[in-house]
Structures are given as C-alpha cells and as structure tokens.
C-alpha cells in the first residue's frame, strides 16, 4: 500500500514518518516513534489507555488515522514530565495518592487528567468522575485516581497563584 508522508509535533519535537494512510496513530507512536507510554486496551475507543493530547483535546489514538494527525501538536504522558526529568504535578500526585496499580491505564489517565484540569481547573469530585469516564481502570476502583486529580488541581492552582 502506498505510504503517505506525515509531519507532526510530538512532545515538543518535530517528527516525520512514512506510513500507510490506514495506519492508526497509536501504532505510529508506539512502533515507529517508540513512544510506548500510550497503550492499546481495546482498539474501539472504549478504554482510553491510548489517550493522548492532540491540538488541545483529549483524543483516543487507537481510532485516529495518521492522516488525521498530519500537522498536529501531540502530547503523550512522556511529555508531561518536568524539564529536569522529575515527575510532573499530576504524575507525582498519582504516585502520592496510590492512583495506579498495574500502570497500564495510567498514561491515558494522566494525559486525560492533564487536559481535564485545563478545561476545568477547579473541578468538583463529581466533575472529575464524569470528566474521566472515558478512561477505564481495572485495578484502582478510581477512588485514588479521583483523589490524585483533586490534589493535582489544588497544587496546580497554588502554583499558578504563586506565579501571579
């Protein structure tokens, strides 16, 4: 099958690749770009393990063709660490509040939480639960994930206030 040339920005770096138009974005990320944080859990958009941030929106990369991502600005969980390599706020709060167990849903969860807290910087618990309902977790029962995201919101808001 003829390949197409795609360009995108992934975690701040310009990348380009040759891929069949039918290639799914998750496969391009994982297999061609070696970005294996986003995972494949269902390939039908239900589980959210493949969630990435694309042009300012949470997107399930298992159901996006590479052609649709041409020119896109993409952030994955790998791009959410601090510049010095330390864990970003949400990553740290997931660890602090035991918001993960097997770790398979975690990259999608954290990437979604990152966007959720930009959509709504001061969510209620109920808003967090609804805002995260596109991401499935089999291990945690969500309780500590919700706690971690609420704590992340507090930390991020305090940081913002301190910077102003």
């Amino acid at each position: 099958m003829a390949k197409m040339h795609v360009k995108m920005t992934v975690n701040g770096k310009a990348v380009e690749a040759l891929a069949e138009p039918r290639t799914l974005l998750i496969h391009l990320l994982r297999e061609d770009l070696n970005i294996t944080g986003p995972h494949i859990g269902c390939e039908t958009s239900h589980c959210g393990a493949c969630t990435i941030d694309m042009d300012g929106k949470s997107v399930k990369s298992c159901t996006v063709f590479v052609g649709q991502a041409d020119g896109a600005d993409i952030t994955t969980v790998e791009g959410l660490v601090n510049d010095d390599g330390s864990l970003g706020v949400i990553q740290e709060q997931f660890r602090e509040h035991h918001g993960l167990q097997c770790g398979f849903c975690t990259p999608g969860m954290i990437t979604r939480a990152h966007r959720l807290l930009q959509e709504n910087p001061t969510p209620t618990e109920s808003e967090v639960r609804m805002g995260m309902s596109g991401n499935l977790c089999r291990c945690t029962g969500y309780q500590n994930i919700v706690k971690a995201i609420m704590a992340s919101a507090d930390t991020l808001n305090a940081q913002k206030e301190a910077a102003e």
Binding site: I35, G41, T44, G103, R129, C137, R138, V146
Partner: protein, 806 residues
Amino acid sequence: MNDLTPTAEERAANLKGMGSSRKRVEDVRFTQGKGNYVDDIKLPDMLFGDFVRTPYAHAKVISVNKDAALALPGVIAVLTAEDLAPLGLHWMPTLAGDKQMVLADGKVLFQGQEVAFVVAEDRYIAADAVELVEVEYEELPVVVDPFKALEPDAPVLREDLRDNMEGAHGPRKHNNHIFTWEQGDKDATEAVLAEADVVAEEMVYYHRCHPCPLETCGSVASMDAVTGKLTLWGTFQAPHAVRTVASLISGIAEHNIRVISPDIGGGFGNKVGVYPGYVCSIVASIVTGKPVKWVEDRMDNLMSTAFARDYWMQGKIAATKEGRITGLWCHTTADHGGFDACADPTKFPAGFMNICTGSYDIPVAYLAVDGVYTNKAPGGVAYRCSFRVTEAAYFIERMIEVLSIKLNMDAAELRRINFIKADQFPYNSALGWEYDSGDYHTAWDKALAAVDYPGLRTEQAQRLEDFKAGKTRKLMGIGLTHFTEIVGAGPVKNCDILGLGMFDSCEIRIHPTGSAIARLGTISQGQGHATTFAQILASEIGLPADDITIEEGDTDTAPYGLGTYGSRSTPVAGAATAMAGRKIRAKAQMIAAYLLEVHDDDVEFDVDRFAVKGAPERFKTMKDIAFAAYNQAIPGLEPGLEAVSYYDPPNMTYPFGAYVCVIDVDVDTGEVDIRRFYALDDCGTRINPMIIEGQVHGGLTEALAIAMGQEISYDDMGNHKTATLMDFFMPTAWETPHYETDHTTTPSPHHPIGAKGVGESPNVGGVPCFSNAVHDAFRGFGLTQTHMPHDHWRVWKTANDLGLHG
C-alpha cells in the same frame, strides 16, 4: 548516646518496613509511561502473528486454504493443525488435566476458537492475511446449556473423548461430562435435611464473566537457532510453570528456555492459563528463525481466553426454627466450555468450592460438582479469587439470605448466631478445611455499628411505607455479607498444578555496602510487590526498604515458584521472604558477635542492628555487618551474605470480612444508586495499609461490575454477544461509588509474619454484598432469588414481575 541518637522507633520508621504506607517504587516508571509491557517489546526482524478464528460454535473443519494468504506480500507463514501435528503441538495439555486444541484439529468447539495462525511482517499484513485464509466448515448442532449437554441424545462435543469414560478426575457419566467431585457426608446431610424444622432451597446461578484485564494476553517468542535457546516474554502470572510446561510440550530442554514476565497490565486470573497464542508464537519463531509477537485484541480476549464462573448451584440449607443452621447441601453444575482449562490445583477440579460453608459453624455438609462440556470458550479461571472461592461465597451468602426470608428473621442476626466463634479456631469445617484464625463477631459488630444498622432498617421500613403510599418510586436495599476466604495455595501435600508443588520462594543477596536484591518466584501484576516485599525484608533484616531491589518474573534469575494468583503471593512468597530474611539475620548475628568479640548468644537484634545484650551502646548495624561479610575472614563462616528459602506453607490462610452496602432502586428505570459501601477486611498482619486499601477499592469495583452488569453471554447458536467493551460492562469512575474501608487484625498463627493476603477478598465479599442489596430491596414484595447481573433491565424486570409497575 545523647538526645540526637535516634530512638528505636525513629530507626524503625527509617526502614519503611511492615505497617508503613510506603509510596510505591513502581510508580516512578509507570506514571511517565516507562513501563515495559509485552507489546512494548521490539526485537530486530520481529514478525507478528494473528489468528484465523471460527465464526461457528460447533462445526467440522472441512478444509483450510492458505494460498491467497501466502500470496500476499509480507506474509511469511500460515500454520494449521496439520503443520503442528508432526511436532505433536496441535494439542496441548491444560492445567486441569484435560487437553486442548492449539489449532482446530478437524472440528471447532466454540466461536472464536483458533483455526490457523498467520505470521507476517507487520500486524496490518497479518490482519489482511487472516481475511484471505479460506476455511470451509460444516455446521454441527450447538449446545450452550450445560443441562441440555447432559441429556441422553445431546450431540457429542469432544469426539476425541467419545466413549472414554475415565476422565482426569474419575469416571465420566456422559460424553459431555467431565467429572464429578464430591466432598462431605452425603447421607448424614440428607438425614439432617429430612428431619429439619426448616429447609430453604434455591438455585443460585453465578453467571459467566471474564477477568478482562486492561492489557490483553500476548507473547514474544525468540528462538536462537545458533544457541538453541528460546526466550519467551509473555503475560504470565506463573512464569516458572510456563517454562516447565513449554519444555514438556516442546521437548526443548528446560535450561534452554528462558521465560520472562515483563510488567503485566493486570491479570485477575486471565493470565494464569497457557493459550494457543503462546504455543503458536513459539512454533512460528522456530519455523521462521525470527522473533514472533502475538498480542490479542480485546475481542480475542473476551471470546477465547479464560472466562470465569458459570456455576449453577442448587442449594438446600437446614435450620432449627430459632435459626441455628444444622446442615448444608449443594449440587453444582459447572459449565467449563469446550475444554476443561481451569487452573485449579490438581486434586481440586472444582477449586476450593468446598469453602462454601462460609463463616458459619455448620455441623454437616455435602457438596457435589459436575463439570460439563459445552460449545463455549474454555476456562473457568479464578477471576480475582482463589479457585472458585467467589462462587462459594456467593452461594452461602445467598443461601443465608434465602433462609432468613424463610425464617422471617433479620439476616444480620441469623449470621451472628451461626458464626464460628473466636474460641473455636483452629476450626475444622464439615467440608474438610482447617480455618486458621478468625474473630467474626468482633468484625460483624464493628461493621454494623459503623453503618448504624438499626437506623438503616428503620429508614428502610419507612421508605417501604412511603412507597406503598405512593410517595416515592424508590426502594431501599441493605446488602450484608460476611465472607471467609481460603487463599495462599498451598501446602505441597495437597496442592499442585501439573505435579508442581505450590510452594514459593525468595532468594536474597546482600551487597557489601548494605543494600540488597531479593528475587521471588511470584510476579506482580499491579499488586506492588516491588514495594511490599521490600518492606517485609526491611523489618526482617534491618536494611531500609529503599535500599532493597525486588525482582520477579525472569526464570533465568528468579528461584522457582508457582506465581501470583489466588492471593498466594503474600501467604506463600511473603512467608518465603520472611524466612530467607531470618536466615540472613542468623548469619548476621554470628558476624556481629565476632565483630563485637562476644558469644553469638550475647547479641540481640534491635531494628537495624545487633547489640550486645545489656549494653545497647555496643552494636554493629546491618550495614556494618554486610560489609564485614565481604571483607573479614571470619573463622567458621563462609564469606558473603545470601540466603534462599523455599516455603511450603503448613496450611492455607483464611482472610475474612464484613461488608455492608446501601442502595436505592428506582423501580421504574431499574437504576440502582449505591449510596454507601462499607468494607471491613481482616487480612491478618497488614504490610502496607495504603496498598491494602487500594486493593480493596479495586476488588470492590470488579465486584460491582460482576454483580451489576458484567456478563459473558451467548445466544442459542453459540454466538458470543458480549465481545467488545460496548457490550461487556466495565464501570467507569462515574458509576463507581466511593468506598469506606475499615479493618480488624487477626494474624494467621502459622504464617511467619501473620499475613493472610487481601487482593481478592473485596471481590469475593463484594459480589454477594451488592447482589444481596438488590434482593433486599425487593424482599418486602416476596422476592427470594433472581439472577445476576443486576443491570437496569433485569432490575426493572424484577420490579415488573413483582407487579410494581401497576
């Protein structure tokens, strides 16, 4: 010593040993996407395998035409049973003593069964080639109902076993019958039932469901033709057993096979079994000389690997009119699908179903289980439970409720008067187990007080009145459960899988600078072993947990063990860890005594050091001792500081818990709102409270899924109706309630640190608790028993059948 000298408590806190809610070491990798799961493995020239699967549940395979698939550029091979037969690999043994087709050998027995294995340069080409393989089938009559499968004129499913009436677990009564397993005293139980004041009888069905971990099953096989060594990465909950099985069925010497379980994205029993994909990836690597990866998609996972439950449990429970239980009878019809691929210890073809007397002092009991073949997927694995314990707990906790209705008695009180009392432990149950320890009354009273049980019943009665008066359309249900588990399989004298004793192991190596590595025969799938096993060791050997690496899952380096499932890691490998730690400590004591120039008996262990008895200022820390082990010539002692322990547990452990669930049921929509869920768990000694609570939250949510909507369902043609996450219910954060956790601590008397295991308790106790709540909501209208899952439709239908829709 002065004020700055750390106290023993401060030194202990510094170790982050047992009892500490230590943050997980795994999370630094996982939170930034640096886990290493099987699908992350990428090897040079790696090929991809994918299956051609049958759309029919029961059919003869007339022919398989590979030509079009092989003609597709990038396709390397298409394997069928014919290709595997010369190697003897077209069938494989199951963990239950049966055998299973690796690729369809003349016929297929369930929809989604593996027919051919396509190997191609990438996963897209493999998927294209799967579509090009032409298979001709001749349909056969389908049997999906285990009761119909046992009718005299039922079609014979397993032609390979036709008229072979001696099965792996005794005589077979029918061509579709697998085994009969009996426990307890049938005659005595039936005599009690005949004489009893009251007998409650009910059919309790625990529907077919699936562990459905977020990561599906997969493997990467790499056969090195030059060295003759096979490396196999995969989603294995028992890597050492996989190596042994792989060696036995392939003929490759065991030392030439290296099995590696990398990070595993949840298991819950799904990853205990050995699947055709693993075998085919190995064969394909041998045939092609290249590494071959096979990873299921979600549909494959839900259709073909490891279902759970599907138990039809006919029960009779006898009692005095005051409510004292006098006997329990159970006959179970167990639907195992096309092959008996359960993963139970050999002597227990129905697992530990004989824990079904639960938390109650029942003088006499009888259990019989009949295993049956149907045209459904094989499995019957322990989905977040220890070998059918969740079925047993559901059965007894429903039977108690049904009995309470018959007696017109409060279900909490009925439980209380029948609990095994604290002074009866160790307690010998009527079905053959020796419960190690428990204090059920204390746990029960604490739970009922925490939720104000009398207040809830008052509120419920008022609600019922309001409902009858037309003031509300919502009923209130109170779900109660007191469960007793049996975990930590198990003593080698009665527990083995394929002849491999179910001990487990730990090997510790202390480094000169006082840090350490410990390797275990288990494998974490999210339980946090790298964190908690280091805590056990920290307390045992006095080195900080942060300085101890835990490694599992590589059969070339880890000591042999039977893996992680059935809540056995802490009871068995955790015990091995403590015992290996004690060996380290024993040698350290001799080194310390030598360094301090006193007799061995004159030093004592004190948190992180050995000190001279009566002179605590004279001591050697474990770090000092570690260094001395490598730089001193100590008379009578070998250099180095290492130990290994293979622990054969003397008994199982018996965690227990008391759960209460409060719900509102909308009778017009069937929606159930979980207002409150209180879970008290007693898992003995608590190693890491943070991780225990996390396990409880997760297990309760899997229980929520099972009780309230999750189901593997087939139509009469054997079509799988729930093979995607659209149809197979998995609760999101939105449907999942907030949980309240609590605990009592009753250590196991036979475990070195008193720990019992907890990962599966919330699933075992949670399912009956949610289900009892739904039943309880309708109790006032005469409902005694209805089948799970209690999804909106079924709850609405229950209300409708009871005439509540006017």
